[in-house]
C-alpha cells in the first residue's frame, strides 16, 4: 500500500502541475489583453503579439487538462449508468472505464505523435512578433493524450485495488479545490 500511496501522491502533483500551467495561461491572457487595450488607448501602437500570442497558447492551457478533468469528474460525462449501479457495480464500471479511456487515449496519442512528426517536418513558424516553430504548440496534443492515458490508468488501478481489498483507496477528493 505505501507504493500505491506514493503513486497517487505523484499523480496529485502531476495534476496540480497541469492546473498551474492552465492557470498561468489564463492569467497571461488577462494581463496581455488588458495591456493590449490600455497600450492602444494610450499610445496606439497595438502590438500584435499581445493580441496574437494568448490564443496561440490555448492548446497548452486546454489539452494537458483533459486528464485532470477526468480525475475531477467535472460534469464532462453523461452520468446516467452510475445511478443504477450498486457500489460494487460502480467499481467495476470505473475499472472498465479506466481501461477503455486509457486504450482510447493511447490510440489518440499514437495519432498525435504521427501528426507531430508531420508538423516537425513541415517546420512552419508563427507569424507573430516572435517567431517560433508551430510544432511547439502541436506538442500539446500528444502531451495531453499521454496525460489522459496516465490518469485513466490510475482510475483503473484504484478501482481494481478497491475491488480486491474492499476498502476505499482515497476519499475521492482528487486534489482539486472546487
Amino acid at each position: 500500500m505505501p507504493l500505491l500511496r506514493l503513486y497517487m501522491k505523484f499523480n496529485d502533483v502531476l495534476g496540480m502541475l497541469c492546473l498551474i500551467v492552465a492557470c498561468c495561461g489564463v492569467a497571461f491572457a488577462i494581463i496581455a489583453l488588458s495591456a493590449a487595450a490600455l497600450e492602444r488607448l494610450l499610445f496606439g501602437f497595438g502590438y500584435a503579439i499581445l493580441n496574437d500570442l494568448p490564443p496561440l497558447l490555448m492548446p497548452w492551457v486546454v489539452f494537458p487538462m483533459m486528464g485532470v478533468l477526468l480525475r475531477a469528474d467535472r460534469h464532462v460525462t453523461v452520468d446516467f449508468l452510475p445511478h443504477f449501479l450498486a457500489p460494487r457495480g460502480r467499481l467495476f464500471l470505473n475499472l472498465l472505464l479506466g481501461a477503455v479511456i486509457c486504450a482510447a487515449a493511447v490510440w489518440l496519442l499514437m495519432g498525435g505523435l504521427d501528426a507531430l512528426a508531420f508538423f516537425r517536418r513541415l517546420r512552419q513558424t508563427t507569424e507573430t512578433g516572435i517567431r517560433f516553430p508551430l510544432w511547439w504548440i502541436y506538442l500539446s496534443f500528444p502531451v495531453g493524450f499521454a496525460l489522459l492515458a496516465w490518469f485513466a490508468l490510475e482510475k483503473a488501478i484504484t478501482a481494481l485495488v478497491e475491488l480486491l481489498t474492499g476498502t476505499p483507496v482515497r476519499n475521492h477528493k482528487d486534489g482539486l479545490q472546487s
Partner: protein, 421 residues
C-alpha cells in the same frame, strides 16, 4: 464504418466516458478508417478552432464572473433587486430573475451566475417558505438568461462558427433576454401569489442599496460600451471586465482576497478547459461531416421536402431539446451548427434569428435530466438532492418551450436591435 462508429460512440456515452473523448474517438475512427485522412488534418483543424482569437473571450468572461462571486458583488446586487421588487407577489423569486439578469450582463458563466446569486438568495427564499424544488429550478431556469444576455459564451461560440460578428450576436440577445425576464417574472408572481410578501422598502433604503450596487451595475456599460464605442475588441472587453471586477473587489467592496483571486483563476481554468476540450474534439467531428459532405446531403433533403423556415426551425428546436437531454450546451452547438448553418441562406433564415432560437432551446437542456448542469448546481447550493427538484420541471419547461416558440415566430425580437447598433 459510420454505423459502427455511431454505435461505439453511444456505448461509450452510456458508459459515462467523457463527452470530449466520445467525440474524439468516434470521429477519429471514421476519419482514419473510412476517409483515410492523415492525423495531421484532425489536429490541424482542432488547433485552428481552439486558437481562434474570439474564443479567448470565453475564459476571460468566466474569470470576470468568478471574481465577482468572490468579490462581494452578488450581495449588493441581490439587496438592490430585493428593495426594488421584493414586495411584489413572489417578490423574492422576481428578485432572483432580476438579479440573474443583471449578473448575466457581467459575465459569461452560467455556473458562476447560479453560484453567485443563488448562494445569497436561495437560502433566503427557502427561509421565507418557498418550496426548495421551485427555488432550484427557478435558479437553473434564470441562468438561461446568461446565455441570452450579453456577454455570453453561446454568442461567442456562435460567432466563431459562423461569420456573424460577435457585436451582432451580443446585441441580438438583449431583447429576447428581457422578454424571458418578463415571462419568468410573470410566471413566478402567479405561482407564488399566495406566498407571504416582504415589506415594501422605503425610498431611502432603495437609494442606499442602489448606491452600494453602482460599481457592479457599471460593469455592463464597461463591457458593451467598450465594444460598441469601438474602443475594445470582444476579447479585450472580457479582459477589461476581469480587471474591473478585481478593482471593485479589492478597492471598493474590499471583500476580495488574494486567495479569492487564485480560487477564481483555478475555477476559470477548469471551466474553460472543460469547454475547450469539447471544442477541440468536436472539430474532429466537423472534419468528418465536411469530408462526407453530410450537411450538403441534409440541405438537399430539406429542399427536396420543400421545407420552409418555420418548419426547419421547429425541427432544429426538437433536435436541440432531444440532444439537450443527454448532452451539454457547448457540444450541441458543435453538433448542430456545422450541420445546419449552410441551410440558413437557402431557407432565408437570418443567422441572428437562428442564434436566438438555438440558444433558447439548447439552454433548456440545462434543465432536462439526466444531464442538467444548471439544475445540479442550483441543487448543490441549497444541498437538495437533485431528483427532488424534478417535479417542478414540467411547468418551467412548458414556459421555456412557449418562450422558444415565441422566438421562432417573432424573428424581429432577435434582429431588431442588431440592426440598430
Amino acid at each position: 464504418m459510420i454505423p459502427i462508429a455511431l454505435a461505439f460512440s453511444s456505448i461509450l456515452l452510456i458508459l459515462s466516458v467523457p463527452i470530449f473523448l466520445v467525440f474524439g474517438i468516434g470521429s477519429a475512427l471514421i476519419a482514419s478508417v473510412d476517409l483515410n485522412l492523415p492525423w495531421a488534418t484532425l489536429l490541424q483543424v482542432s488547433f485552428a478552432a481552439v486558437t481562434k482569437q474570439i474564443l479567448l473571450a470565453i475564459p476571460l468572461f468566466i474569470f470576470a464572473g468568478y471574481t465577482m462571486v468572490k468579490g462581494g458583488i452578488a450581495t449588493r446586487l441581490v439587496n438592490f433587486c430585493v428593495t426594488l421588487v421584493g414586495h411584489w407577489p413572489g417578490g423574492l423569486g422576481v428578485s432572483m430573475v432580476l438579479a440573474m439578469g443583471f449578473f448575466a450582463a457581467f459575465c459569461g458563466s452560467i455556473l458562476a451566475a447560479i453560484t453567485a446569486i443563488g448562494t445569497v438568495l436561495m437560502p433566503r427564499m427557502v427561509e421565507e417558505g418557498y418550496p426548495k424544488p421551485f427555488v432550484v429550478v427557478l435558479a437553473a431556469m434564470a441562468a438561461l438568461l446568461e446565455g441570452l444576455i450579453p456577454p455570453s459564451n453561446a454568442a461567442i461560440i456562435y460567432s466563431s462558427l459562423t461569420s456573424v460578428p460577435v457585436s451582432r450576436t451580443f446585441a441580438a440577445g438583449i431583447v429576447p433576454g428581457i422578454v424571458l425576464m418578463v415571462m419568468l417574472s410573470a410566471y413566478v408572481a402567479w405561482r407564488c401569489r399566495h406566498m407571504p410578501r416582504s415589506a415594501r422598502a422605503s425610498w431611502s433604503e432603495r437609494w442606499q442599496s442602489f448606491v452600494a450596487a453602482i460599481p457592479a451595475l457599471l460593469t455592463p456599460f464597461i463591457i458593451l460600451g467598450g465594444i460598441y464605442s469601438g474602443l475594445l475588441t470582444a476579447a479585450e472587453s472580457a479582459a477589461a471586465a476581469g480587471v474591473w471586477s478585481l478593482l471593485i473587489g479589492f478597492l471598493i467592496y474590499r471583500e476580495l482576497t488574494f486567495r479569492g483571486v487564485i480560487e477564481a483563476l483555478v475555477a476559470t481554468a477548469i471551466a474553460c478547459s472543460a469547454i475547450f476540450v469539447i471544442i477541440g474534439m468536436a472539430t474532429f467531428l466537423s472534419v468528418v461531416l465536411t469530408f462526407t459532405q453530410a450537411p450538403q446531403h441534409m440541405i438537399d433533403f430539406l429542399t427536396h421536402l420543400g421545407t420552409g423556415p418555420v418548419t426547419f426551425l421547429i425541427m432544429v428546436a426538437i433536435t436541440c431539446l432531444l440532444l439537450g437531454t443527454f448532452i451539454e450546451v457547448v457540444p450541441i452547438f458543435y453538433l448542430v451548427l456545422p450541420m445546419t448553418v449552410a441551410a440558413l441562406a437557402p431557407l432565408a433564415v437570418d443567422p441572428i434569428h437562428y442564434y436566438i432560437v438555438l440558444t433558447a432551446f439548447i439552454g433548456l437542456g440545462m434543465l432536462t435530466p439526466p444531464v442538467c448542469v444548471g439544475l445540479y448546481t442550483g441543487a448543490a447550493v441549497i444541498r437538495l438532492s437533485p431528483e427532488k427538484a424534478f417535479k417542478e420541471l414540467p411547468g418551467f419547461l412548458m414556459l421555456g418551450i412557449a418562450y422558444g416558440l415565441l422566438m421562432i415566430l417573432l424573428p424581429s425580437l432577435a434582429t431588431w436591435l442588431p440592426g440598430h447598433v
